[in-house]
């Protein structure tokens, strides 16, 4: 069973109600029945007996879901010991088997490992091991893969599917991603503003799309902005030119005097972007995308190699020398919540990049420019005097785009700019990016692990793996016929709504 909806639609609250782990202020009414037990009427003791034993839960954020001061063995065995009163060694044996099952073999992952020694995907496997340790009748997975890259997402979904089938568990999968739910769930329930919009068989619901909101969601998740086909670019000088750039980070100190070999985050990367061109940089988390972006923005210097912007070398320059270049390049970050100072007004926040202009604008000019930028991103100039918390996530991302375009830059680096947004908001923001690209001729460097986004908005794509660019070319060419292993893995793992519905219909005949 899949539970789908945008943020704030009540998906997680529904799951927490089933677990009776609601925040203190929340009150639930109605009826929740699990295996003949009325959960809302159950006492805390009864719930403790159910939780972990009959109902397991997997959470969204694997980085924070495990207790940092306890070993993974302790954390998996704890629930087993509590519910079955098994001895410590007995529980540890079972924990060991469970960890083996979720893909953490004892050779590399002994029970004595601590969570900080594991990656995000590995930690999510531990959380799944905790949730499934006692073979619950119902497994609730709340956005279990949202924080992971597509390849890890595919692996984790595969694992969940296997565990559910093996132990004949019920699965309540909560997600904002229709494609993921279609792949995983037989039945689907669509929530909006805390109300059920539509519920039914997954394949039928999504192929017929009878309910208008279902249709809206499905269309938004496959949305491709209308863009003029790839313009004739290539004449004249490239806007950005990156020549065999490498970035090493010093290795960990192994003793007082020795260090381990340096870590090469970016390895001999070269590429160029023409004015007005939109280029995607895709790759799994930790492949060096963000390090490369920081160097393009001159926030970090390469260990070797040069970067030219508008024909001028920007590597190894002082801040003062970089000012003219800074004016022409701006950035949009992933998290629209964290990238604004909550105590400043929009006018000040959007006007921030103006200090790199040669002549500081007067305050009237400044308001004028902010108003214009806000208008361009589809906000009202009246929003200038508000504070960031008065805006929704999508509106905040519009604000960060307004901030990026206020200096009329020629290059905008966007680091996962839509991955924190709901599908319908994401569609609007992608439209906005496309529109600004056409209207203002801004070149983009889009950093993303989401191939749908790359496909929607870019002409060229570069696939990065272990610090190197392993494949590049026209976006649709590369994504339709990937050549390198890394690109193939990304494409194969990317959830696709069309494909998922087709497969489901086929299975059902």
């Amino acid at each position: 069973m899949g539970l789908v909806g945008e943020s704030g639609s009540g998906k997680s609250i529904t799951a927490l109600t089933v677990m009776q782990l609601l925040p203190w202020a929340a009150r639930a009414t109605g009826r929740v029945t699990f295996d003949g037990i009325d959960i809302l009427a159950a006492s805390e003791d009864q719930m403790c007996a159910l939780r972990g034993d009959d109902i397991g839960m997997v959470f969204q954020e694997p980085m924070t879901a495990l207790n940092p001061v306890k070993t993974i063995g302790e954390q998996v065995a704890e629930g087993i010991r509590w519910h079955t009163k098994a001895s410590r060694s007995n529980a540890e044996d079972r924990a060991r088997k469970m960890l083996d099952r979720v893909g953490l073999p004892s050779a590399q992952f002994p029970l004595s490992r601590y969570p900080h020694e594991l990656s995000g995907g590995q930690r999510q496997r531990v959380v799944i091991a905790i949730a499934c340790a006692l073979k619950p009748k119902l497994l609730i997975a709340d956005e279990p893969t949202t924080a992971l890259d597509v390849v890890l997402q595919a692996q984790i979904l595969d694992l969940l599917r296997g565990l559910v089938a093996e132990n004949r568990m019920g699965l309540l999968l909560i997600s904002h991603d229709l494609a993921v739910v279609t792949e995983m769930a037989d039945r689907i329930t669509i929530l909006r503003h805390g109300e059920v919009m539509e519920a039914g068989d997954t394949a039928r619901t999504l192929s017929e799309q009878l309910h208008p909101y279902t249709r809206q969601l499905a269309q938004a998740s496959m949305h491709v902005p209308a863009r003029a086909s790839t313009k004739e670019i290539g004449q004249g000088k490239p806007l950005l030119q990156v020549d065999s750039v490498t970035r090493d980070y010093p290795g960990r100190r192994t003793s007082l005097l020795k260090r381990a070999a340096p870590i090469r985050a970016v390895d001999d990367v070269s590429f160029s972007i023409d004015p007005g061109q939109s280029v995607a940089l895709v790759g799994r988390s930790g492949c060096g995308k963000s390090t490369l972006a920081r160097m393009v923005l001159a926030l970090d210097g390469p260990s070797s190699g040069t970067i030219r912007f508008r024909g001028e070398v920007i590597t190894g320059k002082s801040e003062a020398e970089l000012r003219p270049a800074r004016r022409d390049m701006q950035v949009v970050f992933q998290d629209p919540y964290g990238s604004f100072d909550p105590r400043q007004k929009v006018e000040k926040l959007v006007a921030e990049p103006l200090h790199v202009l040669e002549k500081e604008p007067t305050s009237a000019e400044r308001r004028e420019m902010v108003a214009k930028a806000l208008h361009e991103v589809g906000l009202s100039p009246r929003d200038m005097d508000k504070y960031p918390h008065e805006f929704s996530g999508g509106q905040r991302q519009r604000l960060s785009i307004a901030r990026a375009i206020i200096t009329r830059p020629r290059l905008v680096v966007a680091d996962e700019p839509v991955s924190a947004l709901d599908v319908s908001i994401r569609a609007q923001i992608l439209d906005l990016f496309a529109e600004l690209n056409q209207k203002l001729g801004i070149a983009y460097l889009f950093i993303t692990h989401d191939l749908t986004v790359a496909r929607a908005i870019t002409d060229q794509v570069m696939v990065m793996h272990d610090g190197r660019i392993v494949e590049r070319g026209g976006t649709s060419e590369v994504l339709d016929h990937p050549q390198s292993e890394a690109a193939k893995a990304l494409v194969a793992a990317a959830p696709d709504l069309h494909r998922a519905i087709a497969r489901r219909l086929q299975e059902q005949g």
């Binding site: 939780r51 972990g52 034993d53 924070t64 495990l66 207790n67 001061v69 306890k70 629930g79 003793s255």
Partner: protein, 315 residues
């Protein structure tokens, strides 16, 4: 892990050396000539000069510092100007009073504070929490000497359970000696416990919002088990930090409390030595207290690594 240990140890040693320089320099600067003080007002300039020479007071500053610091290392603290006995003897007979007192107070404050913090955090915003934190507020605000007086009035004068002051010595038996330390230890511990309880409560409340608490609840552990097994250990870091910082205040508190209870401890010794301008005693005792504070903070640093595995693997 070893790198972390070595680094902490090195920092502690450097701090100790710097502190010894500061202590030495401060006492050099303040006015008052010990030689003149010992000989009285009627002594002639030659007599004073002779004594200064005997005591080594006319040597250059650096020489005197090295001599003094070298002496400290071999536990030779010099001779007291007023008592004319080795300082180490004075310290030895006082430390058996002050050290147990400080340790009992430290243990008492922890034993009171952590359960109160757990209690308050688990009943946040309810009556029990309000009462406990109100009491803690009072504990922070009330000075320890007033506490001491109230305790004497209640337990010694009115209930006659323990002596009002003085110390019979350990030779009189463990129980009578401990009995005379009970009230001073409580007076010292209560204000400390109040602060520590508040820190424990707020650290726990912060930890209880973490995602892993929800994971533990989803395993089916009851709230109380989650609090003890998962929340408390994660909340220990700020609690340990405050515990280390408070130890210095605890030692400062002994000077006052020992005076209120007429305990022959280091606090009283240093107080008397200051009024008598017995600089060598003051220097020695202050250095001893400094070393104790540094040692406790070193222990706190090491216990971080015990509590938090991330510190163990980070270099």
């Amino acid at each position: 892990m070893t790198a972390y240990l070595l680094k902490r140890l090195a920092i502690a040693l450097v701090t100790l050396v710097l502190a010894s320089m500061v202590v030495f320099a401060v006492l050099e600067i303040i006015p008052g000539d010990p030689a003149r003080l010992m000989l009285g007002l009627n002594a002639s300039a030659e007599q004073v000069e002779l004594l200064r020479n005997q005591m080594g007071l006319d040597a250059p500053l650096a020489t005197r510092y090295l001599h003094w610091a070298g002496g400290l290392l071999s536990l030779d603290f010099g001779r007291s100007y007023t008592y004319s006995v080795p300082v180490i003897d004075l310290v030895r007979e006082r430390v058996v009073v002050s050290l147990p007192l400080a340790l009992i107070a430290l243990a008492l404050s922890t034993v009171i504070a952590i359960p109160v913090g757990l209690f308050s955090a688990s009943r946040r915003g309810r009556a029990g929490d309000t009462i406990a934190m109100g009491a803690a507020q009072l504990g922070v605000a009330v000075p320890n000497f007033w506490f001491a007086l109230m305790l004497i009035y209640l337990f010694a004068v009115w209930l006659r359970l323990v002596p009002a002051g003085g110390f019979p010595g350990w030779s009189a038996g463990v129980w009578p000696a401990l009995k005379s330390l009970v009230l001073p230890a409580i007076a010292l511990a209560l204000p400390q416990a109040a602060i520590l309880a508040r820190v424990t409560r707020s650290a726990l409340i912060e930890v209880l919002h973490e995602d892993y608490i929800r994971t533990a609840r989803a395993k089916g552990l009851p709230y109380r088990a989650v609090l003890w097994r998962h929340a408390l250990r994660n909340a220990m870091i700020p609690v340990l930090t405050i515990l280390g910082l408070q130890f210095a205040f605890l030692l400062a508190g002994t000077i006052i409390v020992e005076n209120v209870f007429y305990l022959p401890g280091l606090g009283r010794l240093v107080f008397q030595a200051i009024t008598q301008r017995d600089l060598i005693v003051v220097e020695s005792v202050v250095m001893l207290l400094v070393a104790a504070v540094i040692a406790v903070n070193l222990l706190v640093d090491l216990s971080y690594a015990v509590v938090d595995p991330r510190l163990r693997s980070r270099q």
